[in-house]
């Protein structure tokens, strides 16, 4: 299969033997792993994690905090304060590992579940809630955070990312592994079936765009299992498009960091796109409106709990990095503080006023729309003084 990959794809990305049927839950999945579920460091011939334990402690903190933020948001939804929430539970390592591999100038195109990447990019967690509370559709500044708005239409953002990367090329911001720019597009296993994602692969390939396609294969697209989307491992699809693909243990923050960093470097230096399949598991529901007990077995969940992305780092730090209880306790306390602030901030979010939402339909407002706004204002004003 590797012979069919055009261009100078490095040997390390050569696809593995394709199975004729999709991997079963019980089957061992082959992927890049640098930290086992038990918290032991392992070597990989092509990927190294050579940063110190302080960095790993930072990753641990990031993952605990985003899980705490996520838990609080789910609670807020259950209490009626959010209309919906899309939980990242279980995908913390995929998001923190890849998010921390980004440079200041790299650009991110997320789905609606990338709360962990948003955290890495400095987006105020409160700003993530507005969309789900129904007060706005994304309140952060995409330029300030190099983090585009959440995209809800599945896969559409992969084309935006590719176009943005083509802009980076045209700005001559590519060609330097250290100072160059890259773009990363997040999407899921379900999105891999979308035409837009496949078109993005084609565009990125033929224009050699500096984009990393980061697919979090969390095994489920709402109720549909991965074998409804593909008969081959997703990362192997890259070969057909002419760029490297790699599968990484998506619950291993060290491996997702190392693999993403290498792919970003490739993009920045001008060697083109990479598809990363982060093999992980959606521990919670698709969103708070979903009921996964109707379509998947509890044993699966129990099986994946043993591979929890945070527990393995906890085990590693306790056992090998001389980290004591205070470290973990402080992070727990910090998480509780952030959660309390998030809750207070959410409850204090001002209700939006429809009058304000006429103004950004166009840069140059049309007379028709101005007229409709005036009509609404007058109509709303006619109730003033009543009840």
């Amino acid at each position: 299969m590797s012979e069919s990959v055009p261009g100078p794809a490095p040997e390390v990305f050569a696809p593995h033997e394709a199975p004729v049927s999709p991997p079963q839950a019980s089957e061992e999945v082959e992927f890049v792993q640098l930290l086992t579920p038990e918290g032991e460091r392992v070597e990989h011939p092509d990927y190294k994690f050579d940063l110190d334990d302080e960095t790993i402690k930072g990753f641990y903190r990031d993952m605990v905090l985003v899980r705490r933020i996520d838990t609080e948001a789910t609670a807020l939804q259950r209490q009626g304060e959010l209309g919906l929430w899309a939980s990242l539970l279980g995908q913390e390592a995929a998001q923190i590992g890849s998010g921390r591999a980004l440079n200041d100038k790299d650009m991110v195109f997320p789905t609606y579940r990338e709360h962990g990447v948003a955290f890495c990019q400095g987006v105020n967690p409160l700003n993530l809630l507005g969309l789900f509370r129904g007060v706005d559709q994304g309140a952060w500044d995409p330029k300030e955070n190099n983090f585009h708005l959440y995209t809800i239409v599945i896969g559409a953002q992969t084309l935006h990312a590719t176009g943005y990367a083509m802009g980076q090329q045209r700005d001559h911001a590519v060609g330097d592994a250290d100072n160059g720019e890259a773009t990363i597009a997040y999407f899921g296993d379900g999105a891999s079936s979308q035409g837009d994602v496949n078109e993005a692969f084609i565009w990125a390939s033929v224009f050699n765009a500096p984009v990393v396609f980061f697919c979090q294969n969390n095994q489920w697209a709402i109720s549909e299992p991965i074998d409804r989307q593909t008969r081959i491992p997703l990362y192997q699809r890259a070969a057909g498009f002419g760029f490297p693909g790699v599968r990484v243990d998506g619950n291993d923050v060290l491996a997702t960091y190392a693999v993403t960093q290498q792919a970003l470097k490739r993009a920045r230096e001008g060697s083109g796109p990479t598809l990363i399949e982060a093999y992980t598991y959606r521990m919670g529901a698709h969103t708070t409106s979903d009921d996964p007990t109707k379509y998947r077995l509890n044993e699966d969940l129990e099986h994946w709990k043993l591979k929890d992305p945070i527990e393995r780092v906890h085990a590693y730090l306790s056992r090998h990095a001389a980290v004591d209880h205070d470290f973990f306790d402080e992070i727990e306390a910090e998480g509780d503080k952030i959660a309390a602030e998030l809750r207070a901030g959410c409850l204090a979010l001002p209700d939006p006023v429809l009058t304000d939402f006429f103004q950004n339909v166009y840069v140059e407002e049309t007379p028709q729309l101005a007229e409709q706004r005036d009509q609404f204002v007058a109509y709303a004003a006619s109730f003033e003084g009543e009840g």
Binding site: G163, V361, V363
Partner: protein
């Protein structure tokens, strides 16, 4: 002053915009060496290079989706959709992404994208090559929709569209690509982008038209003189938004209106104009607003298109009817 075709006028307009602003990119299928299937982009790739005049893979959603990304990066993409009927794979990106981005970002993002679509019938083409889908875009908040009716407008309107910070769907009347007119590039455009133009002053009724129907309506108005009728012809030029002030002023004067377009009858631009005239000019109207349009069928096989499309006789028939009240 040079005599120039409508197609060449758009080419010259694109060239002028690209010379003026290095952020302007042109992208689409076959637009490079070939110069587009209608040769509208002829010579641009040779002069501006492959980075600015981009032959894209054959996928319309990809064209618009990557244009969104390029716009986010600060570029001003001009996308060519090869034919009207081929725009629909890109419809999701246009409706859900291009149109809404400024709104959902609360004004932080702008989408200065122009989507050029050669549209309409009358060229004997096979199916999916003769359609008039302007309503499907005009109905969408966040988009602006325009169409040029002559080479002079074509030259200026494409440049004004590129300068607009709002996304614009630019419908080019493909059967008029070879119509000629005198163009003086040194004379600034007479109107801003979203203004209609009274092409012929009249007193008895107003013909409201745009794109390929402008020429048809002007011919109908000349022919109507023989019947002793003095028709006003308004080239709408802009469909979303309509220039209602110009439309209202004309109809308040003539008291009768016929809207003419190739797009099907129901829910077409004519429906909206009729509604607005009823609301705003009710006491001025001597007759209901009538519509002369394509029929509510799919675009027919081309041997029948002359019967499907509004022509001079059907426009005059509409005038007869509106004068009969």
């Amino acid at each position: 002053m040079t005599k120039i075709t409508l197609g060449k006028a758009i080419n010259a307009g694109l060239r002028a915009a690209m010379e003026k602003d290095p952020k302007v990119l042109v992208m689409g299928e076959d637009i490079g060496k070939l110069g587009g299937v209608f040769r509208v982009t002829e010579g641009l790739q040779k002069d501006f290079g492959e980075d600015r005049v981009i032959d894209t893979p054959l996928a319309e959603s990809g064209i618009i989706g990557t244009a969104v990304g390029l716009a986010l990066r600060g570029y001003r993409p001009v996308c060519e959709i090869q034919f009207d009927g081929f725009v629909f794979p890109a419809y999701d990106q246009i409706i859900n992404q291009v149109a809404k981005m400024h709104y959902r970002s609360m004004g932080k993002i702008r989408m200065p994208i122009v989507i050029r679509i050669p549209y309409g019938g009358g060229i004997g083409a096979v199916e999916h090559h003769s359609e008039s889908p302007e309503t499907l875009f005009a109905h969408v908040p966040g988009l602006k929709v325009i169409s040029c009716g002559d080479p002079v407008d074509a030259y200026w309107m494409i440049q004004q569209a590129i300068e607009s910070d709002d996304p614009i769907v630019f419908f080019e009347p493909k059967r008029r690509y070879h119509e000629k007119a005198e163009l003086d590039e040194s004379t600034p455009p007479s109107l801003p982008l979203h203004k209609a133009k009274v092409l012929r002053e009249g007193t008895d009724a107003t013909l409201l038209c745009y794109g390929p129907m402008v020429k048809t309506c002007l011919q109908a108005a000349e022919a109507a003189v023989e019947d002793g009728r003095n028709l006003e012809v308004v080239d709408l030029r802009t469909i979303a938004p309509f220039d209602l002030a110009t439309i209202f002023a004309s109809v308040r004067k003539t008291r009768r209106a016929v809207v003419v377009h190739e797009a099907p009858y129901s829910f077409g631009p004519g429906s909206e104009i009729a509604a607005r005239l009823t609301e705003e000019c009710f006491y001025h109207l001597e007759a209901p607003v009538l519509r002369v349009t394509g029929y509510d069928t799919p675009y027919p096989p081309s041997r029948m298109e002359d019967d499907y499309l509004p022509d001079l006789d059907r426009v005059l028939d509409g005038v007869d009817r509106v004068m009969g009240y």
